[in-house]
Symmetry: none
Subunit: 185 residues, 4 copies
DNA sequence: TATGAATGAGTGTTCATTCAT
DNA sequence: GATGAATGAACACTCATTCAT
């Protein structure tokens, strides 16, 4: 029971911090803000994370965990085109399910400073994805699978960026279909 | 002469600030840092910009100016494919000419907080570009010019993002050609 | 058995605290440090001592106890010179047996703040010693026994200070003999 | 003029800090306390000293400066006994002129932690003095000049310690004469 | 106009102490 | 009695901004 409570509190802090960091920014959110939002005392934060930076790290890892889970579900034998389509749909769903969080991730990965850590995490994930996508293009008989894969991922990222930064009336579905038509047929 | 000096100093501050913000981040760069880098006294910064945020604004405007200049050069009558190719090449050149600055721009546009201003600027520019691109796809007889335009711009942004975040051994040229082949033929 | 355990735990805390205070300093040692070193929970400390300051007090008293025990052993009828020599030898042995602890005591006695308590304890002890030493110098027929006693104790303290603050290659024995020759012949 | 003011302020901070550290202790004095006592803003402290520890260092150096000045005045050709007497008188005067400061110095030199720096400074000074005293005892034809010198300095330190820790009715003069009679005849 | 010392609100972090379990 | 999570006041230090010179 104790452990459940403990986990709950840690989760509460993580969630509060993620929401604040994502909505106000990392530097403009103080640890006091996080404590207030999480409903705990300032000092308690340091029972769970030993610094603000460490809290950020934990957030990033938890976001990537969600993302990794989704990827594992997806790895099944299919035709290359079906597979690529699944990737597109999965990523769109992931990002649409919480734009703020993903905007935060993208922002971090572009920032210098504290965040080198996050860049590495993301880049590693990207490399793994890239390998997978390259092999799909090889199966398709692409003339230059690496370039095709980069184009594919670049397009996906660019579209997701548009999703992230645009308002609600954005034609997400059409865009997704457009990409599927262009890359998975 | 005074006015020349004045302009020089303002430029020096802008340049120093841009370099520092781009390389160390906005929040992790202090006004003292900027003053030192620019070779002026801390207090002098406030003769040219009334706040740190205002200095940031001025930087953004100056970057967008460069970008706009390039765009104006480019608008000439051509076939749609040639025109789109020119956009691609222009943007690649722009971003490659100073990755750090553009990384900074992308990062800002994804950040909440102080930076809403920059998002609007960028979004406005994007909308204008979008209109132009849409009309090119109309000329090409596209079935859904708006979606095609978004795909085009998304792909371009995504690839540029890859350029920005990747190391020097990145196959920029091949990628550019790949996009041209896929979108301008 | 319970009471034995209890005593053991209290002793363990005292010893841990003394070692840490002596080696790292009072203010730079946290109650958490003490708990960890003593192998008990942080909260348990407060079952035995009601505050950090109180813990310090208990330590001081325990050190002075050791010191008092030694003195009691020593009070036996002898010639004044032999008696004074015994004092010198006893103090040297005491201090040499644990330099860190005695360094800590001397340091405390010189510090303002929390430690007024310790100063009084020490001063009281010193006064008692002084009385004893004065009476020995009276027996010796000293012209000014009080001054001689202060000189004696001052010299002893000063030499012990040298012992405390110096490294291992220090000529302790020679110094002790030197003082004995100068004051007990 | 500016520089005079600047020096004045730095001096004011040093003096305020010394008084507070000496009367309340280093750890129990906050930088806010120092600022208030010195009549400046908290932030201003950091225009002159880059940390609390650095402020302490500056204080120690300034105290040792005073002490060194006094020593330089003293080095003149004399008989060994006269020279040693001068040392005794000089040290007594120095310490009596500001007991609190010297109590602080002695306390620091016995404390672990931040203060290793001060110990080294003091020990170095002591070594230099020791050399001088040893050579005086050599001149006197002492059988073991090193031991005699250590005894001399130990006695002096021990007596000064008594001066430092005792109240105002203390027979300083008699004690000083006592030591002179015992060591300089 | 140029300067940089002065300011003080605000930051991340620590830690003695409490108390529900 | 034993525990260690929770607390919040206090700390050293930063930095955008001001203003007397």
């Amino acid at each position: 029971m104790t452990s459940i409570k403990k986990i709950d509190k840690k989760e509460a802090i993580l969630e509060a911090a993620l929401n604040l960091f994502a909505s106000k920014g990392y530097y403009t959110t103080s640890m006091s803000d996080v404590a207030k939002e999480a409903g705990v005392a300032k000092g308690s934060l340091y029972n769970y994370f030993f610094s603000k930076e460490n809290l950020l790290e934990a957030i990033l890892l938890s976001i990537l965990d969600v993302s990794n889970d989704l990827e594992k579900e997806l790895v099944q034998t299919q035709s290359p085109n079906e597979f690529l389509q699944q990737i597109i749909e999965g990523q769109f769903e992931l990002v649409c399910s919480n734009r703020d969080h993903w905007r935060f991730m993208y922002a971090l990965s572009l920032q210098p400073g504290v965040f080198e850590f996050s860049i590495e995490l993301l880049q590693q994930r990207i490399k793994e994805n890239m390998k997978e996508v390259v092999s799909q293009f090889e199966k398709k008989g692409s003339a230059d699978p690496e370039i095709d894969a980069r184009l594919f991922i670049g397009t996906l990222d660019g579209l997701l960026l548009q999703v992230i930064t645009n308002l609600d009336d954005f034609p997400v579905e059409n865009l997704k279909q457009g990409m599927i038509n262009k890359y998975c047929k």
